[in-house]
Every structure is written in structure tokens, then in C-alpha cells.
């Protein structure tokens, strides 16, 4: 087993909607898996067509009590392998490796009221969050958009467990979820979004417009946000003077790791900041969703998993 990973066995595969399956993951050595906090996710590592596929999935079960992990995976027609493998090939009893839980999308401990906005499979992180809040007697509400009642994963569970907090919006019934719901809420309200990149961008922009402080707005990317040509570029390791070529279509992070440079990393999509490196010189083409506009100007850093050189060579403090 690779260090820092857990070996698990798949059990209890269940359809949560025609296109979403849930999977329970138990430790392969019968021990209880470590606890996590609502909003945490794991990275799963599976081999498919001789290729290692790493995918991030939110944990959806009771974060404090169960001792196992449960994830839900939607079968996507645009799948790059992960969702197809999980939905079509994963069987009960299969073994795989997963990362320890990580949390880049925690509940705010300062919030007086939590408002969750989910689109489609974006419901998953909120399932564990709501369990946690209900146990603590905290105030929350869920707004959940789905193509139809039939396609709405966890519909029955949600309506049973949170009859007063959950609001559904089905496109088939011409009932659309709107960011206007966030307007006129009381001070202390925090908003959380999970869905497509477009949905999250739209809701975050509207929240700012209504006057929500940045600290009250929470969302988590599960895909790289900023795209552009993946041209080759050069970096210089400032301390050793060594020059590395980052090939076309390859990330700086992978290049550094392949050359034996040990740096921490986690999400690999520019969302968590784990692989941030100080820049001594050079212009960076920032493609992450971790740094804000002010930080991009004020800090001389690069998020190695997604960002590249704007032009010329970038000198790293490594």
C-alpha cells in the first residue's frame, strides 16, 4: 500500500437515482476508518484501461459515527473514465486505495444560519454537513435543483430527514432554483454552493452583489477552472540553479515530482493551495481558483498543479 493511503473494500452498492450509485467503503483490515468532518472528500485510486484514475468524491455518511465511508458517483456521459468505471465495473467486494479524508469545504463555525445550494450530484457534500448540523441543533436549509423528481438522488431520504429544511427545484416541473433566494437573509447567514462551475460562479457573484462578505461564501471546485493552452515552459530551481523543462500538456507539479523534488500537494486542480511555491522571478499565468485577485498581485507565488509561466522562465524558491 502506498504511504498515506487506506486500503478499502467496496460494500453495499445502491442506486440513489437512475444515474447515481452510492458505495460504502470499509477498511480492508476490518478496523474503523478515521472520522472526518462534514464537507470532507477522499481521493480514490483505481486502475482502468491500464491507467491510474484519481478522482475526488465527497463523503456522504455520518461523519462521526459510522466507521466506514460512503460516496455517491453519477454516471456521466462526458466521463473521462472515473464515473464510468465506478458505475459500470465496480463490484461489491472489490478492493481499492483511497486517500485519508481532506476538508477544503468546511462548515463555518461562525455562521448563525447555513444555506446550501446544490445542483445535481453537487448534493453530496451537503449530506454529511446536514447530518452534522441536525445533530448539533443548528439552523440550515437546503435548496436542491435536479432535472426531475425521478432523477433526484436521495430525494426520499432528504424529504424524510429534513422535511422543513429542504426545497426541491425540478426543471421538468418548470421550477428553477434562483440565486435571488439569498437576498434579504439575516446577518450571520453563510451560503454554500456545489454544482457545475458555471452555477457556482453565478451564485458566488450574486452573493457578493447582495452584500455577503467573502468569508460567508463557500464553494469547492472539483475540476480545473481556468483553461488555456498547455504550452511547454522552463523553470529554474533558484537554490540549485537547475533548469527543468515542463513539457506541453504536463503540469509543473508533475514535472517537479518526476524529477524527485518533494513538494506537498492535494487536490491537483488548483483549488486547495497545498502545492503553492514561492516565486523568485518571472511572470506567472495564474490558473488556480485558490488565490484571489489581491493575492495574485501581492504574493509572488505559483500554484504548481495548474499554473504556468506567462512568458520566459520562472525562477522558483526551491
Amino acid at each position: 500500500m502506498t504511504s498515506g493511503r487506506l486500503k478499502v473494500i467496496v460494500k453495499d452498492i445502491k442506486y440513489e437515482s437512475p444515474s447515481v450509485k452510492s458505495f460504502k467503503l470499509w477498511s480492508a483490515d476490518d478496523s474503523l476508518l478515521p472520522r472526518f468532518s462534514g464537507g470532507s472528500h477522499i481521493t480514490t485510486y483505481v486502475m482502468y484501461n491500464d491507467r491510474l484514475i484519481e478522482r475526488h468524491y465527497s463523503l456522504i455518511n455520518d461523519s462521526k459515527a459510522d466507521g466506514y465511508y460512503q460516496i455517491a458517483v453519477q454516471r456521466s456521459e462526458q466521463s473521462r473514465g472515473g464515473s464510468v468505471y465506478w458505475n459500470d465495473y465496480m463490484k461489491e467486494g472489490d478492493q481499492l486505495e483511497i486517500s485519508y479524508p481532506r476538508s477544503h469545504f468546511p462548515l463555518s463555525f461562525e455562521a448563525k444560519h447555513h444555506m446550501f445550494f446544490a445542483a445535481g450530484i453537487g448534493i453530496t457534500p451537503f449530506l454529511a454537513m446536514m447530518r452534522e448540523l441536525k445533530k448539533q441543533g443548528k439552523s440550515f436549509e437546503l435548496h436542491y435543483a435536479s432535472p426531475s423528481r425521478e432523477m433526484c438522488a436521495f430525494f426520499a431520504d432528504l424529504i424524510t430527514m429534513y422535511p422543513r429544511q429542504v426545497h426541491f427545484y425540478f426543471s421538468s416541473e418548470k421550477n428553477r432554483m434562483s440565486p435571488k433566494i439569498m437576498e434579504n437573509q439575516y446577518i450571520g447567514t453563510h451560503v454554500y454552493f456545489c454544482g457545475s462551475a458555471q452555477m457556482m460562479k453565478e451564485y458566488a457573484a450574486e452573493a457578493r452583489k447582495y452584500g455577503y462578505p467573502a468569508k460567508n461564501i463557500h464553494y469547492e471546485w472539483f475540476e480545473t477552472q481556468h483553461t488555456g493552452p498547455l504550452n511547454a515552459f522552463q523553470v529554474k530551481l533558484g537554490r540549485s540553479g537547475k533548469i527543468l523543462e515542463v513539457p506541453e500538456n504536463e503540469s509543473l507539479l508533475n514535472t517537479l515530482l518526476a524529477c524527485g523534488v518533494e513538494i506537498p500537494y492535494a487536490c491537483k486542480i488548483g483549488g486547495c493551495g497545498s502545492c503553492q511555491i514561492d516565486v523568485v522571478d518571472g511572470e506567472v499565468d495564474h490558473r488556480d481558483s485558490f488565490l484571489n485577485d489581491e493575492e495574485r498581485v501581492a504574493k509572488k507565488v505559483i500554484i504548481a498543479c495548474v499554473s504556468r509561466a506567462q512568458k520566459g522562465i520562472v525562477v522558483l524558491d526551491l
Binding site: 455562521a111 439575516y186 446577518i187 452584500g211
Partner: protein
């Protein structure tokens, strides 16, 4: 850089010591729309006094300046006024206003004590110019629209001030909606009290701006009972709530407004 020279157009005394001046720029323009200055400089003489300014008509080179003559003698006060009426002048030692209007602010609750009157008048002017809803909350001694302040330019546009001394401030704040900001200007005890209530209700740092006057009371956060006790950094204090002896570190929490007090090791 060209010096900014100003000329008085109109003056008005709005309290015992505070004057509001409508001025026109003769040359240049000030660096800030709303700001503070420390000196009025005439050709042959300078006066140090608290000054604030706003730019309601900046596009035509007009500013509104507030001066507080409390620290001047009667003779100096007369001299300043005479100089203003007869000579052009400059503002020296400029700085931005302590309060900054954040984007997407819908409403401001402005808490004022008399000590911060000059700053507050400027903030009120700024908010009125930008058409931001405001609620004025003042101490009993300070009635902006009452006897102490007579400012005809404001009579129509300024809201009536409400005394907050006997009000349930927690209740008032807890009913505020997203988009509301708090500006608090006054002595530190008032600012500290409001800060705690605001935090308890859910106002984040971004939504609470303040300017404290006078001596600041340092507090210590007790790691045992999580309550605050008066005390300063690098000292030893007894928690007023759980009686634990605390070694106070120099680690300061802006959010709590207190130094961290660790349990004293025996």
C-alpha cells in the same frame, strides 16, 4: 506635485467648536474623496487642528471641510476664521478616512459618541453623498439633529438620530439583513462592547469597522473558560470568571480583541 490651494466659499458653525466650510480648489485636487488632515496652512501661518473633508462636488472642484477648534484658544479661533475668510490655504498631512465603504454595502448602522463627532459627521456626509441607507445611533448626550448640532445643509437629507444607550443593541443587530455594515466611532469601551455583540450576532470583521478613541482596555482570553478578563500582554492575571491564574502571552487575536491567556504552570 502641484500644491492644492483652496478658497473658502461659505462657512457655518454647527456646534460650539465645529465648523463646516464649503471650499473651492484654486489649483490641483486632493488625493482622496474623503479624508483627514492635521494642518491648515496659510501663506504666513499654520494651525494644527483636527480636520476632515469630503468631496460632494469633486467634479466641480468643491469640497466640504469640517474643522474642530476645541483645542484652539479663543484668539486662535478668531485668527483661523479671519485667515480663512481672507486668504487661500492648503491642507497638510493628509490621510484617508478611517472608514471605507465596501462594495455592495446596502445599509450602514453608524454608532457615534461625542468624542468622535468630527469623524462621524464626515462619514455621514460620505454615506449621504453615495445614497447609502443609514441609521444613526448616538449616545444620549449627543443629539445630532437636536440642539448641539445645527447644520442646515443636513436637515432634509439626514435621518433622525436614535439613542442606543437604553436600547437592546443585540436585538437591533440580530434583525439586520445581509448587506448591512456597522461603523462605530467612539471611546474604546463602546467600540469593544459593540464589537462583541456584533460578533455574537454574526457580523464578520469585514462588516464591522471602527475607530476607537482614548485609552484602549486590553483583554485576555482565558483558555479554560473561554471568557475575557481585563489584562495586558506578558503579565499574569486571574480570570474574573473561573479564577484561573493565567500567563498572558503576546499572541493577540484581532477577532477576539484579546491576548491569549494560558493556564499558569505550577
Amino acid at each position: 506635485m502641484e500644491a492644492v490651494r483652496l478658497k473658502l466659499i461659505q462657512e457655518q458653525r454647527i456646534s460650539d467648536y465645529i465648523y463646516v466650510l464649503e471650499v473651492k480648489t484654486l489649483t490641483g485636487s486632493l488625493n482622496f474623496y474623503h479624508g483627514a488632515a492635521e494642518q491648515l496652512r496659510f501663506k504666513h501661518q499654520s494651525f494644527s487642528l483636527p480636520i476632515r473633508f469630503t468631496a460632494p462636488y469633486q467634479e466641480v472642484g468643491m469640497y466640504r471641510i469640517f474643522i474642530d477648534t476645541y483645542f484652539l484658544t479663543d484668539e486662535e479661533r478668531l485668527n483661523v476664521l479671519n485667515q480663512l475668510r481672507t486668504h487661500d490655504f492648503q491642507l497638510e498631512c493628509l490621510s484617508p478616512l478611517s472608514f471605507v465603504l465596501q462594495p455592495n454595502t446596502q445599509k450602514v448602522l453608524l454608532f457615534i459618541e461625542e468624542i468622535a463627532l468630527l469623524e462621524s459627521l464626515t462619514v455621514m456626509e460620505m454615506l449621504a453623498n453615495l445614497h447609502i441607507d443609514m441609521i444613526l445611533l448616538v449616545t444620549d448626550e449627543l443629539q445630532i439633529t437636536g440642539k448641539q448640532i445645527n447644520y442646515k445643509l443636513w436637515q432634509d437629507s439626514m435621518p433622525t438620530a436614535i439613542s442606543f444607550q437604553n436600547k437592546d443593541v443585540h436585538f437591533l443587530l440580530s434583525w439586520q439583513k445581509i448587506g448591512t455594515h456597522i461603523f462605530a466611532a467612539g471611546a474604546w469601551p463602546m467600540v469593544d462592547r459593540l464589537k462583541r455583540i456584533a460578533e455574537d450576532v454574526g457580523f464578520s470583521d469585514e462588516l464591522f469597522q471602527f475607530k476607537g478613541y482614548g485609552e484602549m482596555t486590553p483583554y485576555v482570553f482565558c483558555v479554560r473558560c473561554y471568557k475575557l478578563t481585563k489584562g495586558n500582554q506578558n503579565t499574569q492575571v486571574q480570570c474574573e470568571h473561573c479564577r484561573t491564574i493565567l500567563d498572558v502571552s503576546n499572541q493577540y487575536s484581532k477577532r477576539l480583541g484579546a491576548y491569549l491567556g494560558n493556564i499558569k504552570a505550577i
